[in-house]
Amino acid sequence: MRFVDEFRDGEKARALAAKISALCEPGRQYKLMEVCGGHTHTIYKHGLEDYLPEQITLVHGPGCPVCVIPMGRVDDAMALAAEPDVIMTSFGDMMRVPGSNGSFFDAKARGTDIRMVYSPLDSLKIARKNPDKRVVFMAIGFETTAPSTAVTMLRAAAEGLANFSVFCNHVTIIPAIKAILDSPDLRLDGFIGPGHVSTVIGCRPYEFIARDYGKPVVVAGFEPLDILQSIYLLMLQLSAGRADVENQYSRVVPWDGNAVALRAIGQTMELRPYFEWRGLGFITHSALKVRPDFAAFDAEVLFRVPGVRVADPKACQCGEVLKGVLKPWECKVFGTACTPETPIGTCMVSPEGACAAYYNYGRLTRTRVAAAAGGARP
């Protein structure tokens, strides 16, 4: 298939893997964080770690929209969904995220009207078709999905739709990366920068990482060769002692981002003073809320949102996994009490979650590679 197979070419991967290995300094360990959950998914789905030398460890970052939603917000969404005449709409990823009283799926089975949509514009369609109902869209995601929520609100405003609102949980990536850089638990050598977010915000916002923290950043695409090439570019920088922001995904990501998308976000949303991230705690200026002039579409204004903070289950170590401090399998309940079918933590729910990716695809690779260590590597 064109535009896909070219980026999954095993021959090219082997050539890149050899170059990457050649750049490893003997005795040095490299920790590279892929910020975005989409990258984590690609890495496991294609078995990319098989190509990396033992010296390079990929650390999975916080860029998984579902993973960072705290349990309290899920409970808030449930409370909204249970209000009279409400149709709650949400992306498929959200359906299995556990709140303290089960997931959207469980609520649906109990009779709450919750529908899965592929786009917030589908929620608008549902709102038009059901004028006697109040349709709420559970908005999640980083700057990647925020523009589509923004456009939906703009369209709802233009149409004068009175029965549509957004429960806004959009978050921003830069404060999360900063929190990780400031975290004493983790020493990283470089970042595989998030590709989709960067199509919107561009590459400039990462410059502080190179400038202030001395870590290289390579914004990467989502095919396995994209990621492998980005690792190669990071290794080139590290071996030359450089720390720059580079754009591997230039076929999609403009250096300055997407001005139209940014404007749409700016028109409809503004920064919250602070927001709770699952596992990472409260981070200032790390999330978006609906602007007061769009209050007619703000579910937090239209409904009574309980806003109760719910502590994560004690055994859940999603926070450590999200920060990259723990590998998924190092969590105490990984794969036993917490599995994709009965997830305790969010990292096990989303296909972009590090735990789900590792459980579904990667449970085997490392042992196989360990057994083969010393030469059987491609």
């Binding site: 095993g10 078995g47 089975a109 109990r110 060769l225 794969g335 917490c338 695809y361 042992t367 010393g374």
Partner: protein, 425 residues
Amino acid sequence: MTAGWVDRALTEHQASEHEYQASEHAHEHRAGERAGAPQPAPGTVREELVLERIDRARRARPRVREDRITMSHGAGGKATQTLIEAIFLNAFRNPLLEPLEDAARLEVAGARLALTTDSYVVSPLFFPGGNIGDLAVNGTVNDLAMAGATPLYLSAGFILEEGFPVEDLTAITASMAEAARVAGVQIVTGDTKVVEKGKADGCYLNTAGIGLIAAGPAGVGSAGPGLAGSGLAGSGLAGGGLNLGVAHARPGDAILVSGPIGDHGITILLARGELDIEADITSDTAPLNGLVAALLAAAGPGVRALRDATRGGVATILNEIARAADVGVLVSEDAIPVRAEVRGAAELLGIDPLYVACEGRMVAVVDAASAGAALAALRAHPAGPQAAVIGQVTAGPPGIVQLKTAFGGTRIVDLLVGDPLPRIC
């Protein structure tokens, strides 16, 4: 799930951990003693232990944790399996049901019969390449064929919603009659129920079917309307009859699929029109009994198991093989036939074609020596020109399906969790 479910899950987990701790310590001790061989990389010994623990958890007796049925219970993945084992098998347990094959194998007055039933709730009722009617006939014919039986007689049960157009019902029954004719079966009994408007979605169908498992060449061709059309007569089966089942898979066996996968599921998804994606794909719904007969004639006793890859797709079948036979399965992404349109749509939607339903494709496990003959027979049949060997059964790791990706890496293919495609059949 209700409040407190996390606590319950954790308590359960801790209890099983305590039970296991002693043996884990023993294992750690053993691992430490493994001298001579290259030392594992730092951290891997503990990872191995975790993987072992997960393996144990996966084999634990299934329990339904939810207090209500969710859509996942019907998706053909893990939740469906849990529901079947924890509720249905638990209630009805008997040796005939226990293998959980597509059809039960019975012996009645000296005859070996296969019996199966299936319900159909597909939405939309009419889709490119078929409708709920031929789907219901083909599905049951295929479940019988997968048991190595010659499908003979079907029943048809209709649950109709008040207000359903008679014209649609006529179209559905005409498709059923035609599908029955093509498959060489007769619909010989039925039932009709009508429910109030809003209590069903137009039309639900149930078909049950009965088929004859050949006792040997002599036993074939003597009875029933199906045999003439099936081509099974004189297939040269060994005396004593076939005993197909995924539990019979052995290391070294080849795994084949009979054609491109995922056509039906993607067709249904696109036919719903919610995605605004258009592609030239039609459902693969088709009877497989002719193809099975050709396969058995060519590879006879070398055929160990047949499964039609419906809900949950090929990935689910591969997992059933690995689990039932306690073997490993290794398949190669490059070798799995998927139409470009299906791949494209699946790629856009973030769906893995391995999990997408087919309604006219089967997975065959064949011993290595017969693999060549089996592949040739499938490809020579009009229903299988794109058949392919996609991988093999391995000794281990038991219960695990591995995929060699086109990119050159290795990953696991697990049972599906969640439900990307409800009401596909």
